[in-house]
Symmetry: C2
Subunit: 481 residues, 2 copies
Amino acid sequence: MEEKKFVENITSQKEDFSRWYTDVILKAKLADYAPIKGCMVIRPYGYALWENLQRVLDEKIKKTGHENAYFPLFIPKSFLEKEAEHVEGFSPQVAWVTKGGDEDLIEPLAVRPTSESIICSMFSKWIQSWRDLPLLINQWANVVRWEKETRLFLRTTEFLWQEGHTAHRTQEEAEEEAIKMLNVYKEFFEKDLSIPVVAGVKTENEKFAGALRTYSIEVLLADGRALQGGTSHNLGQHFAKAFNITFQDVDGERKYVWQTSWGVSTRVIGALIMTHGDDFGLVLPPKVAPYQIVIIPIWKDEKDKEKIYNYVDDVATILREYFRVFVDKDEEHTPGWKFNEWELKGVPVRIEIGPREVEKEEIFVARRDLRTKISYKKINMVPELKNLLEDIQKTMFDKALKFRNENTYEVESLEEFKRIIDKRRGFIKASWCGNGNCEISIKELTSATIRNLPFDWKEEKGKCIFCGKDTNIKALFAKAY
Amino acid sequence: MEEKKFVENITSQKEDFSRWYTDVILKAKLADYAPIKGCMVIRPYGYALWENLQRVLDEKIKKTGHENAYFPLFIPKSFLEKEAEHVEGFSPQVAWVTKGGDEDLIEPLAVRPTSESIICSMFSKWIQSWRDLPLLINQWANVVRWEKETRLFLRTTEFLWQEGHTAHRTQEEAEEEAIKMLNVYKEFFEKDLSIPVVAGVKTENEKFAGALRTYSIEVLLADGRALQGGTSHNLGQHFAKAFNITFQDVDGERKYVWQTSWGVSTRVIGALIMTHGDDFGLVLPPKVAPYQIVIIPIWKDEKDKEKIYNYVDDVATILREYFRVFVDKDEEHTPGWKFNEWELKGVPVRIEIGPREVEKEEIFVARRDLRTKISYKKINMVPELKNLLEDIQKTMFDKALKFRNENTYEVESLEEFKRIIDKRRGFIKASWCGNGNCEISIKELTSATIRNLPFDWKEEKGKCIFCGKDTNIKALFAKAY
C-alpha cells in the first residue's frame, strides 16, 4: 500500500509531461521553488549532481588549456551599451542595481546576464602583445536574466553556468577555438551524460547578441521538444572593436584580437531529466550520478539483522574504493518504499542484500534504466559492477539515440511540418532558402524554430518549405524550450 | 640588470606594508582592480589558489556531515527585515535591485550580503519533524556588501565565500555545531595554511547581527594588525522565531529549531599573503599552492638544450605523479628572471636543472620560505621532496607562531596599551570588565578593538584597562583590518 501510494504521487509522462517533470524534481529533492519570482533553490541532491557535472566539464576545459578566473557580478550600464547588438539582445532581461547602501547610484549596475562586456574591459588592459595571446579564460558563476515564468532548471531568473572567454591573434584561431569547445560540449553530453546531440550553426536570427556566428548542440527531449544544450560563439572582432582590445602583432602592427565565448548552464540538469527519466522518476547516467550504487539491507528478524548489516558493511567497504555508494540503513521505511525512493532518485544500480545473499555470498542487483535484475557472486562483484555501469551508460545513450532517430522527420511540405509539430513533435529536417523572413514566418505559423544547420547534414537540393525557392540548405526545426 | 629591476618593482614591507601588499597581488597576478567601485577581478593564479582552498575546506565541511546547496542571489526586502538586529547590521551595506527588465519592482531585492534570511524561509518549509533534524547545509557563493574603499581580497564590494547554515533539535546541539565548525576552521588555517589562529568568543558589540553568540579565529598579520579569519555563530532561536521554523519534537510538541551559521571568505587569501609574504613576494604553503614545484631548465649552448630538456621532462613526468608541477620552458626570459618571477609567485620549491645536474643525475633545489638550496640525487628525489614540502609547511607555521608570540603583549596600563598600538602594534592581552562602554571608549582612544575572548586564556584576576574595575576577563585587543 505504502509503495503504491508513493508512486502514484508522480504524474505519468503520458498524462502530463510538464507536471511529470516538476513532480520528479520536487519529489527527488533536486530543487524547490524559491519565494522570489523566477528563482529556484538547488537542493543538496541536485547540487551534488551539479558538482559532478562541473567536475567532469571543468576537467575538459582545463585539459584544453583554459584557466578559471572570477570577474565582478556587476556591470556598469555604459559597458553593456558598448556593443550595440549585445545591449539590444540583453537589456529586456537585465536586473538593475540602482542603490548601494544609502546612496543612489549615478550609473545603474547590471547584474551580469553574461560577462562579455566586463571581461572585455579587462582584456583590453591585459593584452598588449601577440605574446599575451591566446588568452583562454573560463568562469563558473551565477547569472541573472529576468524571467516572468519559472521552469525549474530550464528557465529561471538566476542560473549557474560556466562561460568561456578567449582572445586570439587570428580569425582562424578563433574559429578553431569556437568549434573545439563545441566539440568538448558534444563529447560531454554524449559520453558523460549519455545524451545524443546535433551540432550545427545557428541562423542569423538565432545567434548570440553580439556574435559573428553561434554554434550550438541541440537535444531532443522525451516530449518531442528541443533543448539547446550549449552554445559556442565566434565573436569575430565585434567586442574587440567596442572595447578597444588590441595587440602588437609579430609584424609590429597594432591589431584587434579575435574572440570567442561559450557556455553551458544548469539547464543540462533539465536535459538529463527529460532525456532519460521515466514514470518511476529520474534515471541518471553513472558517470555523473551523485550515488552510482545504493545498498539496501533486507531483514525481518532481529536475529538476521546483525549478520546482514555486517555483510552489507563489508560489501560497502569494498565497493567504496571504486564507486560512489550509499547504504540506506534507515529503519523507518520498508525496503519496498526504499526501492521506490531510490528509483525516483535515479540511482543507476540498487543492491539488495537479504539472508539469501549472505548465505550464498552474493549480491542481488537491479539496474535502474532497464529495471532488470541479476545476482553476482560477491567475489566477482567489482568487475561485474564496473561492466554493468559502463553498460548502463552506453544503453542509456543508445536508447536516447534510437528515440531521436525515430522522432526525426524529413518533410517536404508545410502541411506535413505542421501536422508533426501539432501531434508528436520531434526534430524536423526541412529545406530552407536561408532567408530570415521565411524562418520567422514558419515560427509564426508553427511555433517551431530553426535549432541549427547541422554539420552532419550534407548539402541537398530541395525547395524552401515556406517560399518554395530552390536551395541546398537543410535546417533542423523543432519546438524548443 | 634585468633581475635587479624586476625585484625593485616591489615596494619593501618596511618602506610601506600596504603598498607591498598591493604590489605583490598585482605583480603576482593574483587579482586586479575592476572598473567598478569596490570590485576586483580574481585572475587565474589567484583563482587556482582559491580552488585549492575550496577543495581542502569543502572536504572538511563534507566530512563533518554537511551537504552543499544553492540559494537565490536575491532576497526580498521584507525577508531581510524579519530579524531586527540582522537588518540593522546589514542594511547600510546592501546593494538593491529595483528594476527587472523594463518593470520597476514593487519590492526591492537585496543582493545577498549573507543568506540567513533566504535560507531560513526555505528551512521553515522543509523542516516538519525532529526526523528532519539536524539539517546541515553549506553554500559556496558570491556575496555583496557595499564598500567605499577597495582593499584587494580584504575589503571588496563583492567577495566569494562559503556559508554554512544548520538547524538543530536542541540548544546543546547547536552550540556543539558552532564550536565544531570553528575548530574545523582552526585546523584549516593551522594545518593547511600554516597560519596560527586564536579562537575565542566575540563580545556583544562585535557579534554577528542577529546571532546569540559569535565565535571567531583571529590572525596576527606581519604588519601587527589583526584579521578575522573566520566566524561561527550560534544563532539561538532568533531566526527560527522570525521565520517560524518549527518542528514536532519526539514528545509531540511543536518547537522552534536552534541554528548556527559560519563562514570563511576570499579574505583568507589576504591572510595568506600578509602572514607569509616577504620582500621577494608571496610565500605559499605547499598544501594549497597552485604549483608546489617549478622546474627551470638552464642551458647556454644549443647542444646542451636537448639533453637538458629530456632530463627535465623525465624528472617532471616522475614528479607529476606526486606533486603539482610547472615546467618553465619559456625562452624569452633568463633563468635569473624566472627565479625572481617564481619567488614572487611564492612557489614553495624551485628545481634548477643544468648540465651539472644531468651529468650527476641530481636535481638542484631551492626552498622559497628560507631561500636555502640543496642537491638531491634523482633516484631519491620523490621522498626527499615529500619531506621537504612537509618541512616547509611546518616551518612556515612555526615562523608565524614565533612572530605572533613575539608580538603579543600583556599590558596593565592604558598608556602602555596606546604606546604599543601606536608603535609596533600586535596582539594585546589586557583585562576588561565586560562592559561594552569601556570597549567602545578604548576603541575611540586607540582604534584597537577586542578581537575575541580567547578560549585558551584562563581566567585571571585583574583590573579593567579602562575603568579599573576588578575582573577575571582577559581580552585580545588589536588594530584590525
